[in-house]
Symmetry: C2
Subunit: 392 residues, 2 copies
Amino acid sequence: MSDGMNDVYVVGIGQTAVSEHWDLSLRDLAVESIIRSIKDADIDKKSIGALYVGNMLAGETAEQEHLGALIADHAGLLPIDATHVESACSSGADAFRRAFLHIKSGEIGCALACGVEQMTSVLTPKATVGLAGATDADYEVAHGFSFVAINALLTKRYLHENHIKYEDLALFPVNAHRNGISNPYAMYRKEISVKAVLKGSLICDPITIFDSSPICDGSAACILMDEATLEKSSIPKDNCVRVLASACATDTLTLYDREDPLVLKGSKISAEKAYKIAKIEPKDIDFFEVHDAFGILAALSLEACGFAPKGEGWKLAKEGQIAIDGEIPICTMGGLKARGHPVGATGVYQIVECVEQLRGEAGKNEVKDAEIGMAQNFGGSGATVLTHIFGR
Amino acid sequence: MSDGMNDVYVVGIGQTAVSEHWDLSLRDLAVESIIRSIKDADIDKKSIGALYVGNMLAGETAEQEHLGALIADHAGLLPIDATHVESACSSGADAFRRAFLHIKSGEIGCALACGVEQMTSVLTPKATVGLAGATDADYEVAHGFSFVAINALLTKRYLHENHIKYEDLALFPVNAHRNGISNPYAMYRKEISVKAVLKGSLICDPITIFDSSPICDGSAACILMDEATLEKSSIPKDNCVRVLASACATDTLTLYDREDPLVLKGSKISAEKAYKIAKIEPKDIDFFEVHDAFGILAALSLEACGFAPKGEGWKLAKEGQIAIDGEIPICTMGGLKARGHPVGATGVYQIVECVEQLRGEAGKNEVKDAEIGMAQNFGGSGATVLTHIFGR
């Protein structure tokens, strides 16, 4: 869908490697990706009208809130309009969406969306407590539900209902790791086997360490611009990727409140909204950056977004259709599993990767002739779902 | 400023009493104000296109993040587009602004902004640690700076530079308490004297308990609608208040980084942006909801927003100009000091109070013939500043 001069483009991207950045503070991490995105767009930072920071855990991990102004200051952007957006693990794509809407309002022509998370600065149990804030503190966490536990339950139910084995889901992390190898920003750049997934340390039965996205640090940033501003700039249009759709839908935080826990209704509604805006169908999507925090979520997303019937998302992995040269390549730069999942930054990483693909900068992971890419970012177990579709 | 059918109105307001709501959970509080706002607007909740939740401390006080989807669920708004906006104590007005921009984007015709905070569910020292997240954790908090300490330093410097006494600033909380008496939602509805302020328990020299906004719980909500949607609805236009301007500016979180700590540059820039959008001057403002977390901030805001020359904001209190019948009435419903300061909700309370004034529903506190009102909400010591101007 094009509405002329009000179309929004991603004109610059920046990212840090996903890693354990013990030498950097939260603000350093954020500023690094911001500077890279400004350099990539080759614009004067004074032309940026607003900053949207996506972050989930800084209150817990750094006792720091108020990241909008803090990061605006350290990126040299004062007195810019700045804020912090949070929707658990979808904070990154959420920040991108709010920046997109701000441009759509016509108030500004250019905005910056930055996702940042630093999780390794605290002990893992504390990070796990923080992450549990994505689900219902009163009704799920109080009963000992950690985030892995929720996904372990979903996995068990999925295996049971569809009469399959854990090894069938293990193909998702195997695919992610294969794609991570060629992504210089990925945390894990080693292939893993199905056997390794099955024999990995048990995190929460049946999920093993090789099926769990890692606790890590990272930051990614995008510069968005409307068509009118873009045309007045010296930015080559070849370097820009158009936002064909931005959508958000919500569902219950708790699994027990859902009609069918194996149907990600938020993901389905969010994707359908986005398809409608972009005037496309799932078959038009050339690659899909999936929120594969655990293999089960990749399978359920593929079903919810219309790429497979209910209970058959796992088959796309089995048949090799999710590989770079498959029908619907997913997690093309390593996904949450291998690139890493610095929670509040993940959604922006996914979008940066869409842009890399559509610019033809994905190197060995380039999806041939890709023209339309989709990214879907989850808060909680699909309680907030942001879908973005991009085109050349 | 009017740009026709794209003008945005506040068509419904709701608030809970600011108090110690030990019997309510965070979600209960939020839902209460939301239901009241929907009832006030008398609309079908299905017509609401997005929910913006302003909150600062739930991660700390309730180990709960992800308030967009959580509150959408409990308010019966699923699968609505929902998110959580945070900029410390300006989270409320920030949520309102993002809802406003969303409507301006043309994507939706109606949005809901809700501010909610529950601070009394944890011990005060923990709330104080959480609040310190509004300033720089690495460079200020690490040196023992609590929020009261920062404002105490500002107060001392202000008294010193302007050769005045603490009793001159004490008139701000005295005014706030006087206005709180007739506000049924205010936490403190008792008059206090200058003497009481001076003799109150010392919180941080020279600030006493009667010059400190309280730790409390509360929630407020606004329904925003564009003109086109409003005209198609059955809402009487008399009940609606037009948003004349929405603006946000930022400054350093740390005081030591500012050219002059006694100039609130963020407040000044934010107000000037808003005046320009609304095409008005300070003299056109009939009342001003000031962020009076401490008396010193009221004085500095009046100066930054052009109501008094530098160093002379205190005189407006001394001369009675800030009273309901004065030249520039402030904190007309009790302000942060007497109505209370449930941090992430405060900005929405201020806006609700502007609407009450402009609708002529402020009772004994009604500012006579008020046509234009302004609300300014601070994150940190004016590091994020949201300014909104409203008109009948």
